[in-house]
């Protein structure tokens, strides 16, 4: 049963299911992080908030890994987009 439909998986970076499957097969990828790095899926503005469960499922289908063994994407600040200008500022006390 061949899948003909090629759905978009990562909406931020517009990465298709086929691109992801191809990369997993070609590069022998076995982690969600590796899939992100090779395909850009999960690399966009939302940083994989939406597509991580989808990537996990695809990897589990393509490899001998089970969904529960696949750790979510590693997380680094910022968890939401932050203007570079804000990061450049000195800490400000009055926040309320």
């Amino acid at each position: 049963m061949k899948k003909k439909v090629n759905n978009t998986i990562c909406r931020c970076e517009e990465i298709s299911e086929q691109e992801i499957r191809d990369a997993i097969r070609k590069f022998n990828l076995r982690t969600v992080d590796a899939v992100k790095r090779l395909t850009r899926a999960g690399m966009g503005l939302c940083q994989g908030r939406t597509c991580t469960p989808l990537l996990t499922k695809i990897i589990a289908e393509e490899t001998d890994k089970k969904v529960d063994e696949l750790l979510p994407l590693s997380k680094r600040p910022p968890v939401r987009p932050v203007k570079v200008e804000f990061l450049a500022r000195e800490g400000e006390q009055k926040l309320d």
Binding site: K75, V79, E92
Partner: protein, 374 residues
Amino acid sequence: MGLELKKCDVIVVGSGPAGLSCSIEAAGCGADVISIDENGRPGGQLFKQIHKFFGASQHRAGVRGFDIGLQLLEQVNKLGVNTLLNTVAYGIFGQKTVGIIKNEKIGMIQGKKILLATGAIENPVVFSGWTLPGVMGAGAAQTMINIHRVLPGKRFIILGSGNVGLIISYQLLQAGASVIAVLEAAPRIGGYQVHSSKIRRVGVPIFTSSSIKEVKGDKEVEEVVIVRLDDSWRPIKGTEKSLTADCVCIAGGLHPSIELAQMAGCDLRFFSELGGHLPIHNENMETTVDGIYVAGDTAGIEEASTAMEEGRLAGIDMAQKLGYLSQDKALRKKEGIRESLLALRSGPFGCLSHAAKSNILQAMKTKRGSKILF
């Protein structure tokens, strides 16, 4: 350090039912609490819950989520908890420091204890056309109709018959929309019967062993092709049926929002009954990182009622460890909450959560979680 720090006893990230309950307990004992929420108003998902809660009266059955939210807010305000709204906690750093942004200002808060109660994220479901405008998460639709009072469509198809899918169905009906069908991939309905009979009564069909094959439309949703599934959840050829609709709500469940916990270095483990990977925690909701707690959906997808109790447990434990509450008093309070949690986690759904939560405690003892370091 050039970065200026604001210091406090307890930082609560996320002011939903879990976060607010933790703030109330900790501040009620005298701790200096700062609570943060990225939204313009606290309460999390509570204000979207215009329906009444079920269960026993001590768990506020018969009260609407909306009103529970108001009650919690009133208490928080009375206790003088410093609540920072429209504030994004963008990162968690060493020495229990949380980086925040509010009104284009950046800051750092350092706490002695931190509660991460950042809630959950909706699971996506992929089918041809899932990116078309008109396809949305059930939670998003709920926010639009119950908070912003905007109806995103006229004819809805709901994918998923868990409680979220069922509740959104009748809330859409109340808001004046038509619900064409509720689809469920499993052979039986996922949510409570109280909810399902309510929507069946008004004539909304619930198709089990069914899913969406394709959503068609030029620029937005116009047509939804549904299909029956076999025992292994594969589409059965020839069973396709086309329905006219302009909106599809995906109620494919939730998974814990654990970004900050991951960043803090908390050990994670996968619990399918609780929505996926989550930070393992002890009976006081403390994670593998000393002083960092989780509660509510972040600690495993459950309900607002359990989230509040978990938040309270965390708040009491923090207060005790910070010296604001005697061990005796804390113990008594915790015991009461654990009993209440036990009651909440009985029944066909609750017992699954209960079993999974027990496994978390077991994992905590053996620390078999997997740590993600960055």
